[in-house]
């Protein structure tokens, strides 16, 4: 079991929940991302989702598109992100890291070798929004050899049989899209969403992490009624950018943001 599997297994065992913040790697430069990782850890994050910027992120809304553009402009590449993760681990960073990348960045070179490099750098999982279970075999093989967790998705549009299969084939957690749409909109945790999450938890062999639209401690409380992890992406990315623009300290802001979010955990 790698770091991420240990985390989610232990959450399940103790009936606990966690907050998983998302950062676009290299937004405002990788030095900032490195500092923010440490800050998120101090603030009480359970693990982190780290997005590799891609020029054409079709599953992302305007805020994360803009963050990717900023990161690319700052010269961020998969390799430079991996180096940053090494630095984080060398400085004692303990958070499990799930790397989020669009498929093209991973198949640019041999997928198997890329997965090895990602694992060697110290990341623990691969989330690929444009690799559904139909195309997942190569990802699973590469991850298995590198001891990374392959993570698949379930959406409100997924038939039950797909949820079951995605849950079986995911390691660490199953990524549950809380609502229909790209990243950045708001999710209302109404009855329908809650029953979808409850059902997904029952269908999925892997623990579940829910994302898309979680922004506040209140949302975290609602999401973790069924989900093991609440992923907080756009809200955090937008907040940190605003703080940075205003000349504030991004890392400090990241820590405070998570400290607030975790108050929503039971």
């Amino acid at each position: 079991m790698n770091r991420l599997e240990q985390l989610t297994a232990s959450l399940r065992e103790h009936d606990q929940r966690g907050v998983a913040p998302y950062l676009t790697a290299g937004d405002d430069g990788l030095e900032n991302t490195l500092a923010e990782l440490h800050a998120l850890e101090r603030g009480g994050a359970a693990c982190v989702e780290l997005g590799i910027p891609f020029s054409d992120p079709i599953a992302d809304g305007p805020a994360l598109q803009a963050a990717a553009d900023r990161a690319l402009k700052a010269g961020t590449t998969l390799n430079s992100v991996l180096q940053m993760i090494k630095d984080y681990r060398a400085a004692g960073g303990q958070l499990p890291i799930a790397l989020m990348s669009y498929a093209n960045l991973l198949v640019r070179n041999k997928l198997g070798e890329t997965a090895m490099e990602i694992a060697d750098a110290g990341a623990n999982a691969l989330i690929v929004p444009d690799i559904p279970i139909e195309e997942g075999a190569a990802l699973e093989q590469a991850c298995a050899a590198a001891q990374l967790c392959p993570i698949f998705f379930a959406a409100p549009t997924s038939p039950q049989s797909r949820v079951v299969e995605a849950g079986q084939r995911s390691r660490g957690f199953l990524y549950v899209v809380g609502r229909v749409g790209v990243t950045g909109g708001s999710t209302s945790f109404d009855e329908e969403t809650q029953s979808f999450l409850k059902q997904t938890r029952e269908l999925s062999q892997a623990p579940i992490a829910v994302g898309f639209g979680i922004a506040t401690a209140e949302h975290v409380r609602a999401a973790t009624q069924s989900a093991d992890l609440a992923i907080v992406g756009t809200a955090l990315v937008r907040h940190l950018h605003e703080v940075g623009q205003a000349g504030g300290n991004r890392a400090q802001a990241a820590q405070q943001f998570v400290e607030d979010l975790v108050t929503g955990l039971k």
Binding site: D56, I58, A59, Q65, R108, P132, E134, F153
Partner: protein, 607 residues
């Protein structure tokens, strides 16, 4: 010199008279085995006299298990071989710059993928053979697996073939060629000439029955190693629903009839085939134009828009989303939505909205809402990004994708709705000109007009299929959209295919004077046609397209779309090589939409 890929190979020859006989009856490759353990092993001297007996156009293949490239090169040159077939279990290292074309034994087993990965860059073709033996064993292979491999890479089929089973084997596997040896022997080391004759005859007959066409034109999700369905989970239910609806519609004569009715009575099919007399005289090439510019709304795009909109209605969809580059697909979509009473939203990059303004206005007049995309390079790629995001948020809508690209089932589905172009053109050419053209040319943006045309001719191996990409200001300048020249396979917009990307995997900016060709990826079926060497992909520059635009206007009274002008421009630029040929060009659309762009450039030129 022998060309292409051998289609009928007779192997294990040990007598000059057997070789002469095989060649006389049409074998285009002969093989001599120099593996000592083989019962059909020949000495270097014997190999030499067998190869010397055959004419130049025949492949002379030396079959060996030797792992040393230098020794093999020497042996091949001593006996006059023109190709080498490797049957040993050794690795590929050292073979990458071998001077002669290489064939490589491919065991039909789980090992196959590893062999393909290692050898594909350096071989002309693979030879599918039984997993357990080194060839010449007479054991037939697992046809199911062999068929998959033959879709993936260029393959000859070997293993226990004879005159009795070769037709069925070709039908099951669709290889590019066949190879037989032991089962054609009367006695050890002596061929049964009657059976060899019959084998060649049966093989050729079956091969000509559109077998390559079936190997190439698939219904997806894969075209060889290309294609697939790389889509976000939120869309998967919609994509699976679409695939099912499409399959059921295709099996329903009622649907086909309804579509044919609209194509004929609303869109104006069939479109004419025009002999371009004055242009032909000027360039010394007989040019025939398939007039998709005369289809309602002015481009081939309507064929697909009608097909998909009827499918959407059948699925009970009320709202249509679409992207557009040149605006032709947007106009076609807005048109069918008006016709069928569907709500319509079109995404168009801001750069394209400016350079194809008449089409933007047409869409609005037709009642569509046009969303202008201000992100990225603000062209077709970004319009597709935005349309896909809109679909992710609204999976109850139908996404009416405009070219033969994207996630499965779109590439196959769009090609299926466009193949009417090639089917008509083939029949018209036969009637008006007789026979088939020497060369068929089409421009390639995403690839829908080209694949529609090519599908009509892909089974005639003698017809040269040429796809013309946007050369922009020249491929060397980096300002172009020639994916096959400057690209690397990868994943964009849902499929694995050739695409323009940088070293880190970020999608590169593209440039073309024509909005419809200005796109970073090419449809996966074209990627496969290229891999199988059934079609070739070239480019025409902005200037060549502009030249063609003006010539066609002045010589034929036709204003072609700037996209289609690339196809004509390539023919004009390559007229020396095409002298005396009959060339069929797909004139995919008309050029009214491009007036502003062309006039702007021309007046700039004069200033």
């Amino acid at each position: 010199m022998a060309k292409g890929i051998p289609s009928v190979k007779v192997c294990g020859l040990t007598r000059v008279e057997d070789a002469l006989h095989a060649v006389e009856h049409g074998a285009d490759a002969i093989g001599v085995v120099t593996v000592e353990a083989s019962p059909r092993c020949a000495t270097p001297e014997l190999a030499r006299s067998i190869f010397e007996s055959a004419p130049d156009h025949v492949w002379k293949v030396l079959v060996t298990t030797d792992s040393d490239p230098q020794r093999v090169a020497q042996a091949a040159s001593q006996c006059g071989a023109t190709a080498v077939q490797l049957c040993g279990n050794h690795s590929a290292s050292g073979w990458s710059d071998f001077a002669l074309p290489l064939l490589r034994r491919l065991p039909v087993s789980e090992e196959a993928q590893a062999v393909i990965k290692e050898w594909q860059p350096m071989v002309l073709a693979f030879v599918l053979d039984s997993a357990h033996t080194a060839g010449g064993s007479g054991v037939t292979v697992d046809f199911n697996l062999a068929a998959k491999l033959a879709q993936q890479v260029p393959c000859l089929l070997a293993g226990g073939l004879d005159e009795g089973n070769v037709a069925a084997a070709i039908d099951a596997v669709h290889p590019l060629g066949v190879d037989a040896s032991s089962r054609l022997e009367a006695t050890p080391r002596q061929k049964d000439q009657a059976r060899v004759h019959q084998f060649i005859h049966n093989a050729k007959q079956q091969m000509s029955k559109a077998t390559t066409a079936q190997a190439i034109t698939s219904v997806g999700p894969y075209f060889g190693e290309f294609g697939g369905c790389f889509a976000p989970e939120t869309l998967m239910a919609s994509l699976l629903e679409l695939e099912q609806a499409w399959r059921s519609a295709m099996a329903d004569p009622g649907f086909r009839n309804e579509l044919d009715g609209y194509l004929k009575n609303y869109a104006g099919r069939s479109t004419p085939l025009t002999f371009a007399q004055r242009l032909s005289e000027e360039i010394g090439v007989e040019v025939w134009l398939k007039r998709e510019d005369l289809l309602h709304t002015g481009a081939h795009k309507l064929n697909n828009a009608l097909g998909q909109a009827l499918l959407a209605k059948r699925m009970g969809k009320k709202r249509i989303l679409a992207e557009t580059g040149a605006g032709q697909h947007g106009v076609a979509t807005a048109t069918v939505c008006a016709l069928l009473g569907l709500e319509c939203v079109i995404y168009m990059g801001a750069v394209d909205a400016a350079r194809q303004r008449p089409n933007l206005q047409r869409m609005e007049l037709l009642g569509a809402r046009v969303e202008v995309v201000e992100h990225g390079q603000r062209t077709l790629k970004d319009a597709i990004n935005e349309a896909m995001r809109a679909w992710v948020a609204d999976p109850d809508a139908h996404y009416l994708l405009g070219s033969a690209l994207g996630p499965h089932p779109f590439p196959a589905l769009v090609a299926g709705f466009q193949q009417v172009i090639g089917e008509e053109a083939r029949e018209q050419f036969e009637q008006q000109a007789g026979g088939v053209p020497d060369t068929v040319v089409a421009c390639v943006g995403g690839g829908s007009n080209a694949i529609g045309m090519f599908r009509g001719f892909v089974d005639s191996n003698g017809v040269d299929l040429v796809g013309v990409e946007a050369g922009g200001t020249g491929v060397k300048s980096g300002e172009h959209a020639a994916r096959f020249q400057g690209g690397i396979p990868g994943v964009l917009h849902g499929c694995f295919t050739w695409l323009l990307q940088d070293e880190d995997g970020q999608i590169r900016h593209t440039h073309s004077v024509s909005a419809g060709l200005d796109y970073a990826a090419v449809g996966p079926e074209h990627a496969q046609l290229e891999a199988l060497q059934r079609a070739r992909y070239v480019d025409a520059t902005d200037d060549q397209a502009l030249d063609a635009f003006q010539r066609l206007a002045r010589l034929e009274g036709i204003l072609p779309a700037l996209e289609s002008s690339h196809a004509v421009g390539w023919v004009i630029a390559n007229r020396e090589d095409l002298q005396g040929q009959r060339v069929l060009v797909n004139l995919s659309g008309r050029g009214d939409k491009d007036m502003e762009t062309v006039m702007g450039i021309l007046s700039g030129d004069q200033a």
